[in-house]
Amino acid sequence: MTTDTAPKPSFWNRLAHPGQFVALTRPLLWPLTIITAALFIAGLWFAFFNSPEDYQMGDTVRIMYIHVPTAWLSQFVYGIMAVSAIGSLVWRHPMADVSMKAAAPLGATFTALALFTGSLWGRPTWGTFWEWDGRMTSTLVLLLIYLGIVALWRAFDDQLRAARVIAVFTLVGAINIPIIKFSVDWWSTLHQPSSVFTMSGPHMPPSILTPLLVMAIAFTMLFLTLHLKAMHTEVARRRLMALQRQAAQTGKTA
């Protein structure tokens, strides 16, 4: 029954200090923004002017350049949240808490975008905005999980305590997501064969693949930029809350 919390000074620990983290990462923000913007300009130019129409779907195929990257991010962001959750539970890293909290609304937004573009794409392809297709359905369930996590963050008063509890739930979700995906695939009879993530397939020519990859990287950079900014905001918000609480405390005892 020994509790020893003597800190070991290291780079990792300097990052663990929220103020230091902000100071160390603030210079990254502008370069990240510029890279993201450049990638988007290149990607969108490719997508609109330098990629072929689909012989069946026509111009609507270009929705794919938004749909696929956001769909990829919907899973990537959950991965980031799960890794942060481990960091929060195992190492008690304060920035892992912040990262987890900042990622949740972003993940929900990208997932909602993926669903929205998916249904826009579905209108000309399937003839309906919503089809209970396997991939769309599991993305919808993923969105519900994201929204649940966002609601959970808002329900807690004490954000420090919230972090570890939500970390547990995030990891439970991470274990569950493959099961959900499997069960939805099993259930879905209208399941379309996966044509995007098996990129090596012959039906994905480089003229489509290049803009798709550029857009995927652009969206990932966009997420990283927004995530970093959201983390800075969260650190500032926590500092403000701590100051307010301190003021209340000294006011009470004085």
């Binding site: 509790t3 020893d4 919390t5």
Partner: protein, 211 residues
Amino acid sequence: MTERQVFGSLALSAHALAVGRGGIALAQGLEFKVQNGKCLLLRGPNGVGKSTLLLTLAGIVEALDGSFKLEGPTSEDGPLLHYCGHRNAIKPRLSVLENLDFWAQLNGPTGAASLEALETVGLDHVAGLDAGYLSAGQGRRLALARLLVSARPLWLLDEPTAALDTEGHDLVTRLIDAHLEAGGLVVAATHDPITPTDPNRVETLVMAGIH
């Protein structure tokens, strides 16, 4: 009462311990070391972290800084401590005896028999009654009886005399006396003057807030 059971050697110590909630420190730089047979009384005004210190020692709230140690029996002997907080953890729809029997079974029936413990705290005449009918003071007595049915060396008591009458204060003093006699260790936060009869057994930690 229970047969005198002598606990093995035991020491609770804290070094530069800081406790608090929600990341805000309530007390820091706490230093103490108590051996078995001793009672550590926590004194101080409201809001200086007495309850939080007890919760920290119970392992429910994490220490913000510094460390504390319970030396002596290995943790393989099972849980070493009883925590008695503000809330009495009594189910109103179970009888007084059923409430106590549950804790005896859960924590290990290593102490007094349930009826005996109820007699000690003066509740034997209501043993069959639903606990929901107990008054606040009687509920407190039932919570104290829980300490007796399972023998554990360390008692962490948060305002043990809350809602108790003068006779109840004597009861708490008697229980602490007997526990110290048996080689137990008590850490108690209290505003009431409950002092074990033997002043040599008492140590006091006066806690002041952080300003």
